[in-house]
């Protein structure tokens, strides 16, 4: 067990290092740098000579490989450097951006789980075939609407026409409703489709017949047996959905003018603010890896068939065929 966890943690660190390196290589081939952007802004009043000075000040004049290791060392010492655009320490930017994004992600996840779960259960237990088909048709529709379009319409209707929620995040609970609904609707199709398939399959499992043969009604069968088994694939899906949540926040935070990781990512990418992008990539990768590690460790707890050190641990991820839902 301990050995297994150690191996997984080591693997996680290796993935993170690789993610950092990939990000660094990507960014080092960018055509420009933030100093040039600053100098060439119409109002800047800076000359190329000033640029040389600023590059020196930020260490951007050093050989690329040296910059790579300096940054890497910085990460280990917890020093993520300064934003080249804002001058603020990246660590404090990230520290401020993380909570709203986590808040949004959790709220969006809850909406997605409730919505996806409700759709799947309703479709699975619909009495009339026509109702079933109708309910089955909703997730694909959700999956086809671009998130930004949904967000814009949400704001128009709920914030401006009905004046129910603030259009601009003000930290209130109401301010979270629009973004969370948009994000939740965005991730719900895959959750609904996976759960529906799983429900249909579980309902056909032989043990359900045994439970019915014991004299159980459909309610008892559902709550005590079907749902627990049917929900297992969600666990795997959660890890992947997590990536979608973070990616979705890039668009949603822009649309809803919310603070968060997504928004600073978008800004940093557009302005080529290297230290910020690297920190974000690293942080998001770390979160992703951590969430998936936790999920892997959670499996044996939830499913007694999987025991660490015994049966195959790494269940095959359903990554390949997760229903398509853009995080757009």
């Amino acid at each position: 067990m301990a050995r297994y966890i150690a191996a997984r943690v080591f693997q996680a660190i290796a993935v993170l290092w690789a993610a950092y390196t990939v990000a660094f290589i990507f960014l080092s081939v960018l055509p420009s740098d933030p100093i040039s952007i600053r100098i060439n802004a119409p109002d800047s009043g800076l000359t190329e000579a000033d640029g040389v000075r600023l590059r020196e000040y930020y260490g951007l004049d050093k050989p690329i490989i040296l910059q790579y290791f300096v940054r890497l060392a910085g990460i280990f010492s917890g020093d993520l450097g300064f934003s080249l655009v804002r001058g603020t320490p990246v660590r404090s930017m990230i520290a401020a951006a993380l909570p709203p994004t986590v808040q949004l992600s959790i709220a969006g996840l809850i909406v997605g789980l409730v919505l996806g779960g409700a759709l799947a259960v309703a479709a699975s237990y619909a009495r009339f075939p026509s109702l079933k088909h109708f309910l089955q048709g909703i997730p694909p529709l959700f999956a086809a609407v671009p998130t930004f379009l949904l967000g814009i319409f949400f704001i128009q209707i709920f914030a401006f026409n009905l004046n129910l929620v603030p259009a601009v995040d003000d930290g209130s609970f109401e301010g979270l409703i629009g973004p969370a609904l948009t994000l939740g609707i965005g991730i719900s199709p895959s959750l609904a489709q996976v759960l529906l398939a799983s429900l249909e399959q579980t309902k056909g499992d032989a043990f359900v017949d045994v439970v019915l043969a014991k004299g159980a009604g459909s309610g008892f069968t559902f709550w005590h047996h079907v749902i627990r088994n049917a929900i297992l694939p969600w666990l795997t899906l959660l890890g992947l959905t997590f990536g979608e949540l973070l990616a979705g926040s890039i668009v949603i935070e822009t649309v809803f003018s919310r603070d968060g990781l997504g928004r600073i990512t978008e800004g940093a990418v557009a302005a080529q603010d290297l230290p910020v992008i690297q920190a974000v990539v690293l942080l998001i990768s770390a979160l992703y890896v951590a969430v998936n590690l936790v999920i892997d460790l959670l499996y044996p707890v939830i499913d007694p068939r999987i025991r660490l050190g015994g049966a195959p641990i790494r269940l095959k991820r359903r990554a390949s065929l997760t229903p398509a839902k853009a995080t757009s």
């Binding site: 297994y4 014991k214 004299g215 459909s218």
Partner: protein, 547 residues
């Protein structure tokens, strides 16, 4: 027949039961006008092949038909009350208390996420027959009753921690928990090894005697039916074609179909096989195995596993060697070693006098012309994307120098040999029946005229009536082509019919081996004797009743 109530009403009376399925707008009549009675303490066997409607009948009785099924007509009277089409609440009251189910496959019939004790106690909970504080002691009691030796511990086991036989015992415990009047047993032992099957069915018999339960035993296995039932109903295409006292049916079936079934079911009767190898004139040894072992590395934290341990035998030309054993005995691993799909850990395999143990696949490939294989499941062993012709031609293309026209001629010839019409060449496997597919698989193996054919449970996935045909085909092909067979099987009856030489495996080791007749008539080891004793057939109960 005891008791006045029972005299008035049989435990179960099924009258004119008809069930149809609606699949994509097409109606299929699965059960047509089936009627029978079962008295308390009696067992009726519903026998039939796949698609005969036997399972549907069982489902209809306990009200667990699939969604697309519809009861067209009939009555199912449980001690005089019609429960067919009863409201859900009534069914919920009846099921689990007065009528119970023992399902087919114990490995998938328990909720994998809940402890077995909880799953048993649910029967008490749902029917309120036992006060809550008594659930656990009563559950343990039940487990002991169905033969658990360490019930106190095993009550909190998860299903996956139990063997198949143990799981079936748990399911039996669930079925008998409220002492029902009727139990529907749907192929209760078809997935179990013979010895386990015998112990399970013995337990069921014992409980039936004790509780006076009526049992509807749904099975495809005529031998099991003859051993374990008082009456038999043979179903075909949803209709009862033969009905009567078991002994009478077995002794003198009235319908052609029942006769056909009986004749094609292999049994432990003395084989009429003419030995292919004459000890006086030893034939050339085509395949020799010595000290074969295969070790599988364990997963993290568990020890490695010796699947095959020091196995040796030899196969003379034109003869059949059978490897028998229960699940986990290592017989399939041996088959894979012989065909070099996996590499042995140690030992030697010599084919036509040449040791190929340490040859690479590249070096060995052209030698595969001498050894071919037929798999158990003809639904998985044929590529669904190819036509029958392409499937059979494939080894020729790979291993022979023949030109295309010559290859096609060979394919055509072998298709005749396995008695399939020529127009099958262009058809995809999905349009073929199981028996036809297995013929294609055999044709593919024999098209190269190999010296050795490894047959890995080639008939166990097929219906009884088809099993006999495939065995006949294999025998006649052996005569025509002179191939040696290595026949892997768990079914002793089949093995007796086809083998010259038998190797008995248990837990990876050879328990005993020798000429087939010697093994069957004079088994040397206890294990072999157990195996032989467990083979069903012969009408035990009928004999007992008669006696």
């Amino acid at each position: 027949m005891t008791g006045t109530v029972a005299a008035l009403h049989p435990a179960l009376r099924v009258t004119d039961l008809s069930v149809s399925y609606l699949t994509r707008g097409t109606r299929i009549d699965a059960v047509r006008g089936v009627s029978f009675d079962v008295e308390a303490g009696q067992t009726i066997a519903i026998v039939g092949e796949s698609g005969s409607g036997k399972t549907t009948t069982g489902q209809a009785i306990i009200g667990l038909l699939a969604k697309n099924a519809r009861v067209e007509s009939g009555k199912v009277e449980l001690e005089g009350t019609d429960i067919l089409g009863a409201p859900a609440a009534t069914l919920g009251d009846v099921r689990g208390s007065r009528i119970a189910l023992i399902p087919q496959d114990p490995t998938v019939s328990l909720n994998p996420l809940r402890r077995v004790g909880v799953q048993i106690a649910e029967v008490f909970r749902l029917h309120g027959t036992v006060p809550k504080e008594q659930w656990k002691p009563r559950t343990i009691e039940l487990l002991e009753r169905v033969g658990f030796t360490d019930a106190r511990k095993q009550v909190s086991a998860y299903p996956h921690e139990l063997s198949g036989g143990q799981r079936q015992r748990v399911l039996i415990a669930i079925a008998i928990a409220n002492s029902p009047s009727v139990i529907i047993a749907d192929e209760p032992t078809s997935g179990l090894d013979v010895t386990v099957q015998r112990r399970t069915l013995d337990l069921l018999d014992e409980l039936q005697r004790e509780l006076g339960t009526a049992i509807v035993h749904v099975t495809h296995d005529l031998a099991v039916a003859s051993d374990r039932s008082d009456t038999i109903a043979v179903l075909r295409h949803g209709q009862v074609v033969e009905f009567g006292r078991t002994a009478a049916v077995i002794a003198a079936p009235r319908s052609d179909y029942a006769r056909h079934l009986l004749s094609s079911a292999p049994s432990l009767q003395v084989s009429d096989r003419v030995p292919r190898s004459d000890p006086a004139h030893p034939a050339e040894i085509v395949l020799e195995v010595s000290g074969l072992a295969k070790e599988f590395p364990g997963h993290v934290g568990s020890p490695s596993f010796l699947a095959v341990n020091d196995v040796s035998f030899s196969v003379p030309r034109g003869s059949t060697l059978s490897i028998v054993g229960e699940s986990g005995s290592g017989k399939s691993t041996t088959a894979r070693l012989l065909t070099r799909l996996i590499q042995p850990t140690s030992g030697r395999i010599t084919l036509l006098g040449r040791d190929y143990t340490e040859k690479s696949e590249r070096q060995f490939r052209h030698r595969r012309v001498a050894i071919q294989v037929v798999y158990q499941n003809p639904f998985a062993s044929l590529d669904p994307k190819l036509t029958v012709g392409q499937i059979i031609e494939e080894p020729l293309k790979a291993l022979s120098e023949l030109k295309r026209t010559q290859r096609l001629a060979s394919v055509s010839d072998i298709l005749d040999a396995v008695a399939l019409p020529q127009d099958f060449l262009k058809r995809p496997p999905r349009e073929l029946s199981g028996g036809q597919r297995q013929r294609v698989a055999i044709a593919r193996a024999l098209v190269l005229r190999p010296d050795v054919v490894v047959l890995d449970e080639p008939i166990s996935a097929l219906d009884a009536s088809v099993q006999g045909q495939i065995l006949d085909l294999l025998e006649s092909l052996q005569q025509d082509f002179g191939s040696s067979y290595v026949f892997i099987s768990h079914d002793l009856a089949v093995v007796r019919r086809i083998s010259d030489h038998v190797v008995v495996l248990n837990k990876g080791r050879v328990v005993e081996q020798g000429p087939a007749e010697a093994i069957f008539t004079r088994p040397q080891s206890d294990y072999t004797r157990d195996l032989l004793a467990a083979v069903p057939g012969g009408g035990k109960r009928a004999a007992a009743a008669a006696g």
